[in-house]
């Protein structure tokens, strides 16, 4: 699908007379291309991502979902062979600008990974990590941030009596919420989530889905998911990726009830992937 069609779609979405109209764009991706060596992993991506929404990215494995997500906070550049072209504007500024430091970008854009990856430290030190690297030393302020973040990630009650215990000692689902709390502690604007529930049991998954719903009041969330039901349940917008291209991007209910592209329909109805 070419870019013109995507733009039309976005315009269509915007013209729906809901609260949509007042929402601002957090990320606007323009003609993004990315290569791992010779592997052209992202092709001419154009996407507008809006504030205080949950944007889901779906598509079969290997289609570039994680790569796109990691491009948004430039984590993808840790792979030495990566080359990019095009622009990604975050709040109006091109993140590829030479004077845009990745550290600065990443304090605005948090990330939650597929596999829970707490640090081998106490729960408290995990949450306080972000504030500490950004220079906060005052114990009282740190205490407040830790409590606020843990409450924000709906795990305060479960861990408040064991803040000094190692984060490895809790269940996988709890660890993932600790990781979400750790991200909240840097007070981000956007939260990127790469299949955050794929390593978790159904109950933990449900908890995280509920949490995402709460978090979108304050944050813009972009979530990669392998699970189409999950995308349908929790997202406002859905982008369908295939072989490094955005095939279709629209309101989630439209994507799931009335997709414009045959390939989207095939994927959603489980015909491939």
């Amino acid at each position: 699908m070419n870019t013109a069609t995507i733009k039309t779609k976005i315009n269509v979405a915007k013209s729906i007379p809901t609260e949509q109209a007042v929402k601002e764009s957090v990320y606007s991706t323009r003609q993004l291309n990315l290569w791992y060596g010779n592997n052209h992993a992202l092709k001419n991506i154009d996407l507008e991502i809006e504030e205080n929404e949950v944007t889901a990215i779906i598509g079969p494995s290997g289609c570039g979902k994680s790569t796109y997500l990691k491009t948004l906070n430039r984590m993808v550049e840790l792979v030495p062979s990566v080359k990019t072209s095009g622009e990604i504007h975050y709040r109006g500024r091109n993140i590829f600008d030479a004077n845009y430091g990745v550290e600065e970008l990443r304090t605005r854009v948090g990330m939650v990974f597929q596999k829970p990856n707490p640090f081998p430290k106490s729960i408290y030190d995990n949450i306080a990590y972000g504030p500490r690297i950004h220079g906060i030393k005052n114990r009282k302020i740190l205490d407040e941030i830790v409590e606020k973040s843990l409450r924000g990630a709906a795990i305060w009650d479960e861990v408040k009596d064991r803040l000094n215990e190692n984060a490895y000692g809790i269940s996988g689902g709890q660890q993932q919420r600790i990781c979400i709390a750790r991200t909240l502690a840097i007070e981000p604007d956007v939260i990127l989530m790469d299949e955050p529930t794929s390593a978790l049991d159904p109950i933990s998954t449900l908890k995280i889905e509920e949490l995402v719903q709460e978090l979108k009041e304050q944050y813009s969330i972009i979530i990669v998911t392998h699970n189409m039901q999950q995308a349908a349940r929790i997202s406002d917008k859905t982008a369908f990726f295939l072989n490094g291209e955005v095939i279709e991007y629209d309101r989630t209910d439209t994507i799931f009830s009335n997709p414009a592209d045959k390939r989207t329909e095939d994927y959603i109805s489980g015909r491939f992937g």
Binding site: E103, P118, F119, I133
Partner: protein, 292 residues
């Protein structure tokens, strides 16, 4: 149709079990042989040297008379040597390992350096002694001081420490780095706050084992001209000194039979020092080791 026929399996089972048992026996025999050699060695040394061990032995200087010979100068000298070797080799070794693992671009030059470090670990210690003689003793005019010997020994064990530290750093899961970078941490913050704490057990264990190699080395000390008989203690790193293995070597090469007893007592002291260092390494490994 089934490929594995139950009857044949049963028929062959006996043979398999016998081979299994034969090899189990062989491996046990090999282990037992090594243990036996160790026990005999220990028994000989302890039975020979224990009689000479006493507080006097520890606080006396060396002497012409076997009965009065003590190990004070060598014991204190070895401690001085370690005081130079431990910080020098660990700072350089861990620094190089961090550079190679976290900063250097993986490419031809890096793998060339890597290969050479591995090769250096196999260079005989005499060669390091010659290097130390040329660079530290002569060119830098450090003489046969604690400092010159310490730097030489540091070079000797540097490759081992680098490799051990690299392995420890490499075993820190990439997800932890990702988590740190994704929160806006710089490379330096990630190294100091995440990677080194997670790798510290491996780094210390490897370093202590390398240090215990340095404490038992004689050849480089002989080459750089460290004396054997000294009647004073070094007052600083620029003074000369002697070390445990030098002293033991000297005693054991003397003609009088009594000195063999003194040498054995010296070996016991050296072994206690080594055992102590190794148990510190084991303790650290058990205490800090984290399973990811």
């Amino acid at each position: 149709m089934r490929y594995i026929e139950q009857e044949k399996v049963v028929r062959r089972m006996n043979g398999r079990m016998i081979v299994n048992r034969i090899f189990q026996g062989l491996f046990m025999f090999a282990t037992a042989l090594a243990l036996l050699a160790l026990v005999i060695l220990l028994y000989r040394i302890v039975s020979q040297g224990a009689g000479h061990l006493s507080l006097d032995f520890l606080i006396n200087f060396a002497s012409r008379f076997p009965a009065e010979a003590g190990i004070k100068a060598a014991l204190v000298g070895s401690i001085w040597l370690m005081a130079v070797v431990a910080p020098t080799s660990m700072i350089l070794g861990v620094g190089s390992a961090v550079y190679l693992e976290e900063y250097a671009k993986k490419g031809r030059i890096t793998s060339f350096i890597q290969m050479n470090i591995a090769n250096l670990a196999g260079v005989p210690s005499v060669v390091f002694g010659l290097l130390g003689l040329t660079i530290f003793v002569r060119t830098l005019a450090l003489g046969n001081s604690v400092l010159a010997a310490g730097f030489t020994m540091s070079l000797l064990i540097l490759p081992v420490i680098i490799v051990a530290a690299q392995e420890a750093i490499r075993s820190v899961p990439g997800e932890l780095r990702d988590a740190s970078y994704a929160m806006g941490a710089t490379r330096w913050q990630t190294i100091v706050r995440i990677i080194l704490p997670a790798a510290i057990a491996g780094i210390l264990t490897g370093s202590i084992l390398a240090l215990s190699r340095a404490i038992g080395e004689t050849a480089p000390l002989i080459v750089i001209g460290i004396p054997v008989i000294i009647q004073f203690l070094p007052a600083g790193v620029m003074d000369t000194f002697t070390a445990l293995p030098m002293q033991i070597y000297d005693w054991s090469s003397r003609p009088q039979a009594e000195f063999q007893t003194v040498a054995a007592a010296g070996i016991i002291v050296l072994m206690v020092v080594l055992l102590f260092m190794n148990s510190v390494a084991v303790f650290i490994r058990n205490k800090f080791d984290k399973s990811y």
